[in-house]
Symmetry: C2
Subunit: 551 residues, 2 copies
């Protein structure tokens, strides 16, 4: 019986690197041909990378994207390739999928449902297409859909296979949600879903491509890494009805085990994978092989260092321990222990001398005493200057260690601990950092994050006996408020409990007052349903303080 | 003959300060009543301030805005007030204008044309209304329009007066453009146009409210400041047709002179007013009475200091002169001269000692020599730390001095000269800075910006004999490329001249490569058609380099 072999190429494109992306696509096409595929499909925006934002408004960029397709044409003898890119008709730009074969463009599909997505406002750049696209490959009628167009798909007679080309970003819970939605949309149809993979600034494309038929998942690709999977459809009769057949070991790649019910800890594992991919791609795509970060002996820098060492290799990560008079002896021990455990380099740079020099200079121009906040911030900014100098000299990416709880409340020093290229934990609240560290230790089977780091009370160590709780509510309270009031719908303050109401108000006031700091913070990967980066948009100048109407 | 006296209240609302805005509105209503007005109209978003962005998603904020209208009701005996705010119907939020009188809401108008504006994406927050709104005041039928709804207005019988409530932002050329569009839309109708005024983060509402009839401007308010103007419409007959009559000196405020053809230098004057208002409002609305900035002896800090002294008062501005071994003697003289001219305080903080301390510390952890970029950035970041410490201790706003040419090319030190709360010249290219300084000197009738500052070659003074042109094209070339390729449509590189083509490519590569710096830069006022802040959206990770297709 004749067979249609489909290759699903889950690739990691780079934004703007049209030549590199085209070369990568070509190599995936060649590999698909080597394994006898009749059809190979690629994720949305494979040629341009995503999200390219205002690059789509650069004519020369769009022209080059068209050259990218030309470059691929010679690779398509003996195979049909479905390759998403952009296409210009007159002055109108479309989010298109090119169907190419035998050295020519058979046709292209222009995405019809142009949406305002959080990570890419398509309506800002693209015109919507106006017609569906059905292609015949090896006697089988295939229909192409892009993005979320599948959600209200109406089954066509004689079109038994649907291709869904997507560029869907990770958020906690999103993988399963998307999968369920696809299953529901095609209760009695075969479909191949291919999703982009890779980190791009604040977004993580998670991959997770798969072949399905209604509730059944027939084959699936990995999440958070590139993959190429094959699937054979066996054709029955002339009207293209068919049954699937998982192809045998006639190509090297084994069918990956199906996901089934997620294992315990899947959330932590998933989030870690997401953060590691985001960090790796931010570094590598921006030309950094190495990274550096301040290691304080605290939990945030410990987790950041762990993620960095897994993303870039331990030998490529350098920690700077920059103690002052306020640094506890335990912090040094914990920092050293962590570096040993992770096998990363740890350099020590004591900053008390510099602190004194700043104090003396400032005494020359100030009549009053230095305020506490001044003294604290000077220290954090000295550390930033040292880290940035190290970065400038070594070409190492500075990773920042601020977490979401700090970002939300402004509990960090601008140009101090927030200074750097990539904020790995920007969307990770403190309580989740604890959970992730515990998971890491469990997974590694040892205290790779030292036990005391998990147990001691969090402190910025910018003055003696400082504790985060001097200024902030306990993190389990704070994080639940952030989730409810900042990530959530920002509803009214219907809080019965009076003292809690005060805490809520204070937290929201801190949140609003510190927008200026967040605006100048580096980007970091999004994992939640509402990050404090591009998911939110608050004015800096903002006198809204949830004050009581007092008239 | 009966007269309808209309008051046009061009107010400066503060985002989020609903109580304060309501109190201000109340005082303008009272003043209008004192002068016998029958009707007083306010600009779009008067109650909430604009743009409030995601505050519109906070239920408690929206509720409070409704209380703002309640607060105003008792003030409306004997007058009709048209007050824009937001209004919730069920779960749907509208951009509304309340028509209130005699202590009650007569009706409200829900804006129908909800648009994606650059400074506020209304479609993100508001539902469109579905019906027009005509109100009868003193026997005259008035129709209310908001924003750009006037552009395709179709004249109604028996509705001889149109009220246009707007919140329109400044950009070079925008004031006249809006005025011409209004005139064209109402060729044979009376209209009152009221626009918001004030600075809000990166936006400047310019005011410029006026009363018109076709081509004729009958009365106009000031630009860039609050104003209250009155206009009398004399009613003829019963069908509400009428002729205008400029009201006499029966209220204290004189009719301001009509603009007519703009005086020479109006562009420079307009831009300066815009920047001064933006700086003043950013400072004051955020609770700063004083500001500080680094004074280098160069032209950028000179203009910034001038604007700051005019925005906040000379006595409220402190300059820090922070020389190093690379600072020329002339720079110190020029800095001192500038401070004397502006009557601002100048403090001297030499930083050579600190530089040495950093070098020594870094030698302890680096085997290689310090690179040039490292040495340069350390200096800029020391200055940032000192300025921020001064700010922290004094509660003074740090103004940054980077200009648009530097922002576009990344010719600044992140966490160094870009560190601060407000970037006054963020949207002002270097060549325009020269023009503005020359205009300032002409206007003041003396070299308030010292002559040598205008004449010497620009230098960052981070190494010996450094000139900006070591790295950048001459500014007149650079600025024209920025205008054409970055502010403009980013077209293809159709450049005949080969060496120029190289310069264009290098400039664009610098632009793309430095997005990470711009993302962490503070906000600053928008004056051009395309700022490098919210008007643009480029990815940080971006491998697009205008490279030749080399295959």
């Amino acid at each position: 019986m004749p067979v249609l072999r489909v290759a699903i190429a889950q690739i990691n494109s780079k934004v703007g690197d049209i030549l590199g992306n085209a070369q990568k696509i070509a190599s995936f096409i060649e590999k698909s041909k080597d394994f006898g595929a009749d059809l190979v499909i690629f994720p949305e925006f494979s040629v341009t990378g995503s999200p390219a934002y205002d690059l789509f408004t650069c004519k020369s960029f769009v022209k080059e994207a068209e050259k990218g397709i030309e470059y691929l044409l010679p690779h398509t003898n003996g195979i049909v390739a479905v390759i998403p890119s952009v296409r210009l008709f007159g002055d109108s730009l479309f989010n298109s999928a090119y169907i190419i074969s035998k050295g020519g463009v058979l046709k292209s599909y222009e995405k019809r449902r142009i949406k305002r997505l959080t990570h890419l406002d398509e309506t800002r750049y693209f015109h919507p297409g106006d017609r569906p696209c059905v292609v015949s490959v090896g006697g089988v009628q295939l229909e192409i859909l892009m993005g979320e167009e599948f959600t209200d798909y109406e089954k066509r007679k004689d079109t038994p296979l649907i291709l869904v080309l997507d560029s869907s970003i990770y958020r906690v819970g999103e993988i399963d949600k998307k999968r369920e939605a696809l299953k529901k949309s095609f209760p009695d149809l075969h479909f191949c879903y291919v999703n982009l993979v890779g980190g791009q600034d604040e977004w993580i494309f998670y991959g997770g491509s798969f072949v399905g038929y209604g509730e059944r998942i027939l084959s699936e690709a990995k999440t958070f890494e590139e993959d190429l999977i094959f699937f054979d459809f066996e054709l029955r009769g002339e009207v293209s009805l068919f049954e699937e057949k998982v192809s045998k070991k006639d190509y090297e790649k084994p069918i990956v085990p199906l996901r089934g019910s997620p294992p315990k800890d899947v959330l932590e594992e998933e989030i870690l994978k997401a953060l590691i991919l985001a960090t790796k791609d931010y570094a590598h795509k921006n030309g950094f092989q190495t990274a550096c970060l301040g290691i304080s002996g605290g939990i945030d820098s410990a987790l950041t260092a762990y993620i960095a060492s897994r993303a870039l290799g331990s030998q490529n990560v350098t920690g700077l321990f920059m103690p002052s008079r306020y640094t506890a002896k335990e912090s040094y021990e914990d920092a050293k222990q962590l570096a040993r455990n992770l096998q990363i380099e740890l350099l020590e740079v004591p900053i008390d001398g510099l602190i004194e020099s700043y104090f003396n200079l400032l005494k020359g121009i100030l009549v009053e005493e230095l305020r506490e906040v001044t003294v604290e911030n000077i220290q954090a900014r000295i550390r930033a200057n040292l880290l940035m100098a190290f970065s400038n000299n070594k070409g190492a990416l500075v990773l920042t260690t601020s977490n979401k709880s700090e970002l939300a409340t402004g509990y960090f020093t601008l140009y101090g601990d927030s200074a750097g290229g990539f904020a790995v934990l920007k969307d990770v609240p403190k309580t989740l950092i604890y959970r992730l560290c515990e998971y890491v230790n469990k997974k590694e089977g040892r205290f790779i994050i030292p036990k005391r780091v998990l147990e001691k009370e969090p402190s910025a160590e910018l003055k003696f006996n400082q504790k985060d709780t001097d200024e902030l509510p306990p993190y389990h309270v704070l994080d639940s408020l952030i989730e409810e009031y900042i990530e959530g719908k920002m509803g009214g303050l219907e809080v019965e409990n009076k003292p809690l109401l005060e805490t809520v108000k204070e937290t929201l006031m801190r949140f609003f007052k510190n927008e200026y700091k967040r605006r100048q913070a580096p980007c970091g990967p999004t994992i939640s349903l509402r990050s404090l980066g591009r998911d939110s948009d608050f004015p800096i100048t903002n006198l809204w303080r949830y004050r009581e109407w007092s008239l």
